[in-house]
């Protein structure tokens, strides 16, 4: 199966708020510090947004909505990514798509 990537989703996300996932260096410290031990790494979920993988974002809705927004990841992030800000944007996008 071919998965197409595209910039449209990232554009939609940026319309909803500051989405700076491209700053992420994939070092994984966010995962190491996450109290929830999120099953899909924060950086992976953000990457779905960057690559335009709508279905992957939808499939990981529980990850997006279970984030505690506690910022433990941000306190350690060497790249200064606004991880919880990105999660908030993904939540907004999911709510908008579902017309909640």
């Amino acid at each position: 199966m071919t998965t197409l990537v595209g910039p449209e989703l990232a554009g939609e996300l940026r319309r909803l708020g500051t989405f700076d996932a491209e700053v992420c260096m994939n070092c994984g410290i966010c995962t190491a510090t996450c109290p929830l031990g999120i099953d899909v790494l924060p950086r992976q979920v953000m990457r779905f947004g960057l690559l335009g993988l709508d279905d992957e974002v939808r499939r990981h809705e529980e990850t997006v909505f279970s984030c505690l927004l506690c910022r433990a990841c941000e306190a350690s992030c060497p790249a200064g990514v606004h991880i919880t800000g990105n999660i908030r944007v993904l939540r907004r996008w999911l709510l908008e798509k579902e017309a909640v």
Binding site: L16, L68, L69, V100
Partner: protein, 325 residues
């Protein structure tokens, strides 16, 4: 989107839009604490509760209901419940905490008012206009509803000539201080937690306490609002020996509470981990844990299941500030 997620968020945002709070607590009940103080209505400086402490016992009742429903056939009625809730406020029917469950939370605003008055701080109160800030809806991503609500609250501040707000919990603090300026053009209100105000003024101590406590930082105070030293200064001024858990200050460990509305089991697992760290910090000493957020208080206490005592910081501070009879 999973049905439960969609409908729970839907009910909460409907409530905020229609009734000014995700969980509408009767205004009479939320403002009852202020009766004994005869506080002026409004004024340049007000104490603002955002009804956060009042809401928590109701949230707990709802979470219990949610857990009971689980994936039973009754859970399929949630969409219908949402439609009915749009017409009639369903909260009083499904979430009815007992007076015992409410009393500890309802006491906190009164504790804070007493502390501020004893420290010589003058302030007013907005009574039924002291509205919930919409933080839960904001955290769940419902920004449009929250933006409209922020404008409503800013309008109330302008109406009463409020220039300075003193808050009593971290979530209300961050909404009024860091989020509302994004939603309300020209928002010019100074917002400080009562812990910051008291630390600056100095805690008026009449009866110093003795003993050991473990401090649990709220994520929002520590990582969003940089309120880290004030609670420690105040607890030390009250005479208490403060112990730090493994994850403390900017690296504090979440209580799990923010996940509770949608995923109570995940919230409980995080809280259990945190209770383990707090118990370890107590290191066999007879110590209690101090919290400074109603969500932390309820979640950690539930996870500890009686193995450790938890109290709000205002209880300790007021005990030290009051002369013993």
């Amino acid at each position: 989107m999973a049905l439960a997620t969609r409908e729970v968020i839907g009910i909460l945002t409907d409530n905020l839009r229609l009734r000014g709070s995700v969980l509408p607590v009767p205004a009479r009940r939320a403002t009852r604490w202020a009766r004994e103080f005869g506080l002026p209505r409004g004024g340049e400086r007000v104490l603002y509760t955002g009804t956060m402490y009042h809401i928590v016992p109701y949230t707990e009742r709802l979470v219990r209901l949610q857990q009971r429903l689980g994936s039973s056939r009754l859970a399929g009625l949630v969409p219908l419940a949402r439609r009915l809730n749009r017409l009639v406020n369903g909260m009083p029917l499904v979430a009815r905490p007992t007076s015992e469950e409410r009393s500890e939370y309802e006491r906190v605003p009164a504790n804070v008012a007493q502390l501020l008055l004893r420290a010589g701080v003058e302030f007013g109160y907005l009574y039924e206009d002291d509205l919930y800030t919409g933080v839960l809806a904001y955290d769940l991503g419902a920004e449009d509803v929250v933006a409209a609500h922020a404008k409503r609250i800013a309008g109330i501040f302008y109406k009463y000539g409020v220039r300075e707000v003193i808050t009593i919990d971290p979530h209300t603090t961050t909404m009024l201080r860091s989020v509302f300026p994004r939603f309300v053009e020209g928002y010019d209100v100074s917002v400080r937690s009562y812990l910051e105000v008291l630390a600056e003024r100095g805690l008026p101590v009449e009866a110093p306490l003795a003993g050991d406590v473990v401090v649990h930082d709220s994520c929002v105070y520590a990582r969003y609002e940089d309120v880290i030293e004030p609670p420690r200064q105040l607890l030390a001024a009250a005479g208490l020996q403060v112990h730090e858990p493994a994850n403390s200050r900017t690296m504090t460990w979440c209580c799990g509470g923010p996940a509770e509305a949608l995923y109570p089991e995940k919230a409980a697992a995080v809280a259990a981990q945190r209770v383990g760290q707090l118990r370890e910090a107590a290191n066999g000493v007879q110590s209690e844990c101090v919290t400074m957020c109603p969500i932390c208080l309820v979640n950690l206490r539930k996870a500890a299941d009686g193995t450790m005592a938890f109290r709000d910081i205002s209880e300790y501070l007021l005990e030290a500030a009051k002369a013993r009879s």
